[in-house]
């Protein structure tokens, strides 16, 4: 068996390298996932305030190149009192990312949120999935985290559990996840 020792591989008609081989065994291929990290938490958190607080989902990643994209994906499970509304923010460091810019007045610009107005919401949990392709433009360790807030009438909202937790098998305590994928670019 033979070994090819090289650093760069490119198509004959390409102006740039298609594959760059790292001395640490890594292979850099634009458009491909080159690193995946994830945090999963079953810790429960609740708030009745309109100020955004941590969900407990926080994950750091160190991009191998400043040109890399970071695909942020999450699945957050929430519950709340009847007629409660929950807003989320995604922070890269202290910078909020993925927010809408369409809200006016008292409306909320968020990347994603959940709403209640259900008679029995207090016994339920709901999954919210979201993804955002970020361009951090750094090779330094970068922390992404998800925050949440109650957005209506001080009703309490929860992460990873419903509002009411009677001793029934339909009462779900859950896990939420935050996954970061470095996409070579």
């Amino acid at each position: 068996m033979s070994t090819i020792a090289t650093t760069n591989i490119k198509h004959a008609s390409s102006s740039s390298n298609n594959i760059v081989l790292g001395s640490n065994g890594s292979a850099y291929m634009p458009g491909h996932i080159i690193q995946v990290v994830q945090q999963t938490t079953d810790s429960t958190t609740s708030t009745s305030g309109t100020t955004y607080v941590d969900t407990g989902l926080s994950q750091a990643i160190t991009p191998t190149s400043s040109s890399s994209k970071i695909l942020v994906t999450c699945c957050v499970i929430y519950g709340g009192q009847d007629d409660s509304y929950i807003g989320f923010k995604i922070l890269r460091g202290t910078t909020s990312i993925g927010e809408s810019s369409e809200a006016t007045g008292d409306q909320s610009n968020v990347p994603f949120g959940g709403s209640g107005d259900r008679s029995f919401m207090r016994f339920m949990t709901f999954p919210l999935s979201y993804s955002y392709l970020d361009s951090p433009n750094t090779t330094s360790s970068t922390t992404y985290k998800i925050q949440f807030a109650s957005r209506w009438d001080s009703n309490t909202v929860y992460i990873n559990r419903p509002d009411q937790t009677p001793d029934y098998n339909h009462v779900f305590y859950t896990t939420s996840t935050l996954t970061l994928m470095e996409v070579a670019a």
């Binding site: 429960t44 958190t45 708030t47 100020t51 607080v53 941590d54 407990g56 309490t156 009677p166 029934y168």
Partner: protein, 99 residues
């Protein structure tokens, strides 16, 4: 460690955020010192209040669907039986209202 969110909110009405990992905080983000005996007292009060109305949820789970109950009533009317009345009476007796 999982915190008792409801009991903490009852014992400390200024608590806005409760986090299993970091504790309880007021609207300004100030940490609230939690005393377990206060939380335990609040939990006892919550359990007492919940027990007083638990029979309603137990009955709601035990009752047949509205469709099935209508079917019981139809056949009771046709056959002169008391299936529906017996069903309701059994659910109530199996899940009595606390005195």
């Amino acid at each position: 460690m999982a915190l008792d969110h409801e009991a903490i909110r009852k014992a400390y009405p200024t608590a806005v955020t409760v986090d299993d990992g970091t504790g309880a905080f007021d609207k300004d983000g100030n940490s609230i010192t939690l005393v377990q005996s206060n939380i335990d007292t609040a939990r006892t009060e919550l359990n007492t209040a919940a027990a007083a109305v638990k029979y309603k949820e137990d009955r709601a789970k035990a009752f047949a669907s509205i469709g099935d109950q209508l079917d019981m009533q139809y056949w009771d009317a046709v056959n002169g039986t008391t299936t529906w009345k017996d069903h309701v009476a059994k659910v109530k007796s199996d899940n009595p209202k606390p005195s």
